[in-house]
């Protein structure tokens, strides 16, 4: 082991014992905490300093024991075994000592110097449990520290105990105590140990532990043996152990692992005798009393719907209203930056300006949703932290399982945005906790079908243009359609490409209810939102630059440029003629012309953005101060000459606008992206997508958020216009013959469209394979195109309206869902009966 400066400390313990909470308390980090078993699924590093020096801290996933059956157990065990932390802080739930100590005994068998953190002392006290800490410490021969992670209590004591234990290990290392007596198995353990002792290659491993693991038939211990000793040397050893196992199991008429667990349980009982007292048996705990209502067979679905509805109402509906308050600030920010950039030319703006504004617009479109995000994540944090999330898994497992998912798919799906608004990246990340591999894979591929927040703007946009009368019905369709599709797709995948994957059952602890703390909730909401913003800051802006380049290159041919230049000069000449003999001519022409016309559009926009008489007055003052000479020309009132000049200026501005729009249109049509988009038209025409939509969809693969941003720029407003994107797009698309049916086709494609780049990266991380990553892109693309094309083509053929098409799709998917659900239920119960009667 390389020499470290500083001490390495690992936090180990059972699921939901509060390791991450204590990790945060110790290091001040912001590790994800939730009242839901299996939240931490990978190790996390942090660091703090005490009086002596640095302490490197690792938060391990929660494990009920240290076998190598599940992923989180392997992660924890490999770390403990491979990195040999100087001190292991064994975090135990003081209110559930008996079960927790099983793990403690295993940690001690691994000969890891440990400190026992008795966490959740508040809960234990609340239940009237008394724990004799010094007796426990004496029996375990371990330092014991009482903590309440949620309140940060016990931090200093724990830090001191860690330091003391680390120093003691250096000064007077003592062999770990042997606390479990395995009775008749002991001589066998000794025998195996003796055989193991002959090999140097495994001398660094805890011998008694290794012997036990081998006797229990632990697959990982066996592979360590084979790896270290080589196949040839390991074989006789394995055979010898095999026969020892067989002999013992026959004698005892039980499996060794059961026998071992039994011995440990007796050891725990002896350890706790006299240590643990109190705790009223008969009285129902608060959790039990709450669950009687909340999990009541008839009431539970109601409570669940209510929760979901409340989250939807609070975050999406109210959050949306909040964006009306925050939007003006973003608009102001844009103005500010626009003012800093080089000013516009008459026809073609400097690249710095157009790229700068492009980036600001892309970012603003997304930042606009920050209030929704904060509220949504806070709501989810409350549900997680209270303990209700685990109940949701309990309630929904049956349904989810029927479609190949798992009760624990609930959290990923909710994070992904079951009810309008989420993000697939944390969603896919959260699938790590699902123990059933097949369900986990199915969840990974269906999370991107949820309504991530970046899809919502596009939906809102399209509904605003095409479905003004049916908005709420469409919103209902969209927000429930995703789960219908997701379930069907999950079933399809489970039955086909995923059928070979390993499965495992739903066995989970229901945590006790906690009152969420304000700090915890706010922290997590802000943290997750910040993650989102960071994604916006990097991926989206990078994409925006790429899209910008692809939209601007190769640019207009020289001849067309010259043509537009001529038109512009003609317009300017007309303007100058109109001003002939006007006293304002001097101010308005020559070198002043471009500044004046920019001044005019700035003024108009500022007036439009100003709400209320007061703000309007301020704009007036600002522009008067900015240029008193120009001012009379941009206002409508003024002397006769000023009025005339102002009229001419308005005409010129309009002509300039028209020219710029034409140029942009031509430039985009000839651009690289435009060419690609047009190249795709032969395929996408069946779905009704023209090249502009193709361009937006292409851009949105890099980041979903870009779709509206790109559409926004494709249906760009002129500088002095201030229509909303809805108005602009509505106008342009309707002129282009777009219908509500096309909107439906777009919505469906977008619902099934492949995950954004960031999500596919996450899919790669979670599945560990590029093959599955490619699958996560290709499969939804084909599915989405197929569905959209079918709906659009059939819809066109029968002349369906948008809402009719949408209803048809929705209800047929729904009926299909019912059929699949009921059928697989029959099959499942038949299987169960079979197992029952066959014996």
């Amino acid at each position: 082991m390389s020499k470290r400066d500083g001490v390495l400390v690992a936090l180990a313990g059972q699921q939901n014992a509060g390791k991450s909470t204590l990790f945060n308390v110790l290091t001040g980090a912001r590790q994800h905490v939730a009242n839901y078993p299996g939240v931490t699924v990978d190790k996390k590093y942090g660091q703090y300093r005490d009086a002596v020096g640095s302490v490197y801290t690792v938060d391990l996933p929660g494990t009920y024991s240290l076998t190598s059956f599940s992923l989180e157990e392997r992660v924890a065990r490999e770390f403990l075994l491979g990195d040999r932390p100087d001190v292991t802080v064994n975090v135990v739930d003081a209110s559930n000592l008996r079960r927790s100590l099983h793990l403690t005994l295993q940690i001690l068998e691994m000969e890891l110097p440990s400190v026992l953190a008795l966490n959740m002392m508040d809960v234990a006290e609340g239940r009237g449990l008394q724990i004799d800490q010094s007796l426990l410490s004496e029996r375990l021969q371990l330092p014991v520290v009482a903590t309440v992670g949620r309140k940060g209590q016990g931090r200093e004591a724990l830090r001191e105990a860690v330091r003391a234990e680390a120093s003691r290990q250096v000064e007077t290392p003592t062999p770990p105590p042997v606390l479990v007596d395995y009775g008749p198995l002991e001589p066998i353990i000794a025998q195996v140990q003796q055989r193991l002792a002959r090999f140097k290659a495994i001398a660094d491993l805890p011998q008694r532990w290794l012997a036990l693991e081998l006797l229990e038939g632990d697959s990982q211990a066996v592979s360590i043996l084979v790896e270290r000793l080589g196949e040839a040397a390991a074989r006789p050893l394995r055979e010898a152990i095999g026969s020892l196992i067989a002999e013992f199991e026959q004698q005892q008429d039980m499996e060794i692992s059961d026998y071992v667990v039994g011995c440990r349980d007796r050891a725990v009982e002896r350890l706790l005798d006299g240590v643990l007292s109190g705790g009223e048996q008969g009285r129902k705990t608060l959790t039990e009393r709450v669950d009687r209502v909340v999990l009541n067979r008839w009431l539970a679905p109601g409570f669940l719907l209510l929760t979901v509805f409340a989250i939807y109402q609070v975050s999406i509906v109210w959050g949306y209203e909040l964006t009306n308050v925050t939007w003006p600030y973003l608009a102001k920010g844009r103005e500010l930056i626009a003012g800093l950039l080089p000013s516009a030319h008459f026809l073609v703006d400097p690249y710095v300006r157009s790229l700068g504004l492009w980036l600001v617009d892309s970012a603003n479109t997304l930042l606009n949703y920050v209030p929704i995000f904060i509220i949504l994540f806070a709501c989810i944090a409350i549900v997680e932290d209270s303990g209700y999330m685990a109940r949701i898994a309990f309630i929904l497992d049956k349904v989810l399982h029927r479609f190949g998912l798992h009760g624990q798919s609930t959290l990923p799906l909710i994070l992904g945005g079951v009810f309008a608004g989420g993000c697939a990246v944390p969603g896919v990340m959260a699938t790590k906790g699902i123990p059933d591999n097949r369900a986990r894979m199915a969840t990974i591929f269906t999370v991107p079908f949820m309504n991530c927040l970046a899809k919502v703007p596009l939906y809102t946009l399209l509904l605003g243009i095409f479905f003004v009368e049916h908005k709420s019905l469409m919103m209902f369709y969209i927000s429930t359609m995703t789960i219908v599709f997701a379930l069907l797709v999950a079933k399809l995948l489970t039955k086909t490409v995923l059928s070979g994957q390993e499965t495992s059952p739903f066995v989970m602890e229901l945590p006790h209810y906690h009152l969420p703390t304000f700090n915890g909730v706010a922290r997590r909401a802000i943290e997750r939102t910040w993650q989102y913003i960071k994604k916006v800051g990097t991926v989206v802006l990078a994409v925006a630059v790429v899209v910008f380049v692809l939209l601007h290159l190769p640019g207009l041919p020289e001849a067309r440029k010259a043509h537009f230049q001529q038109e512009a000069e003609a317009a300017i000449e007309r303007f100058e003629q109109a001003l002939a003999g006007n006293p304002y001519r001097e101010i308005a022409t020559g070198a002043n012309l471009v500044p004046l016309i920019n001044y005019y559009s700035d003024y108009k926009r500022a007036k439009l953005n100003a709400t209320g008489a007061e703000a309007s007055q301020r704009v007036t003052e600002r522009f008067q101060a900015r240029n008193a000479d120009f001012y009379p020309l941009v206002i409508r009132g003024g002397d006769r000459d000023a009025k005339q000049a102002s009229r001419a200026l308005r005409t010129l501005a309009r002509e300039r606008q028209k020219l710029r729009l034409q140029m942009r249109e031509e430039r985009i049509t000839h651009s690289i992206l435009g060419t690609i988009g047009r190249g795709m038209e032969p395929i996408t025409q069946f779905a009704g997508f023209d090249w502009k939509i193709n361009v937006a969809l292409l851009a949105s693969f890099a980041a979903r958020e870009s779709s509206v941003a790109t559409l926004g720029v494709l249906f760009q407003q002129g500088d002095d216009e201030n229509q909303t994107l809805e108005e602009r797009m509505g106008q342009e698309t309707r002129e282009g013959g777009a219908t509500a049916l096309l909107a439906v086709s777009m919505i469906l494609f977008f619902a099934l469209y492949p995950p954004c780049l960031a999500t596919t990266m996450m899919v790669k991380v979670q599945t560990g394979s590029y093959k599955w990553m490619a699958f996560s892109i290709i499969f939804p693309t084909i599915l989405g195109l197929a569905v959209s094309s079918a709906v659009y083509s059939i819809g066109m053929a029968v002349g369906a309206t948008g809402i009719e098409a949408m209803s048809a799709v929705y209800w047929s998917a729904f009926v299909l869902l019912l059929i699949v659900g009921l059928f697989s239920d029959r099959q499942a119960s038949r299987l169960l009966r079979q197992r029952f009667s066959e014996g």
């Binding site: 009920y64 024991s65 076998t67 059956f69 599940s70 209110s95 559930n96 008996r98 079960r99 099983h102 692992s257 059961d258 667990v261 039994g262 349980d265 008969g282 959790t287 039990e288 669950d291 999990l295 009541n296 067979r297 008839w298 539970a300 679905p301 309990f394 309630i395 497992d397 049956k398 349904v399 399982h401 009760g407 495992s504 059952p505 739903f506 066995v507 989970m508 602890e509 229901l510 169960l832 197992r835 029952f836 009667s837 066959e838 014996g839």
Partner: protein, 88 residues
């Protein structure tokens, strides 16, 4: 060794109605599942109470000493139990 309960044989956790108290007799699950059940405290000789089943009848919730465990009927059927007269 048969891994499933014999025909018409012993009672499993699946047969217990909500409110019933039983003593765990033995497990028929294997490997990871067995380990997880044992780890959660569902060891032979432990007394558990079936608290309720989920709205769709599956999974079920058990109460042990200090914790609540949920598992599917599919697993419950692998746990052999003997009825325990509910005292108190």
């Amino acid at each position: 060794m048969s891994k499933m309960p014999e025909r018409g044989g012993a009672q499993t956790l699946n047969d217990i109605r909500p409110g019933g108290r039983v003593r765990i007799h033995r497990h028929h699950a294997e490997a990871a599942v067995r380990q997880r059940l044992l780890d959660l405290g569902l060891m032979p000789n432990v007394v558990v109470t079936v608290v309720r089943s989920a709205p769709l009848n599956d999974p079920i919730e058990l109460k042990l000493e200090a914790s609540s465990i949920t598992l599917r009927r599919h697993e419950a059927i692998t746990i052999e139990v003997t009825s325990e007269d509910s005292e108190s």
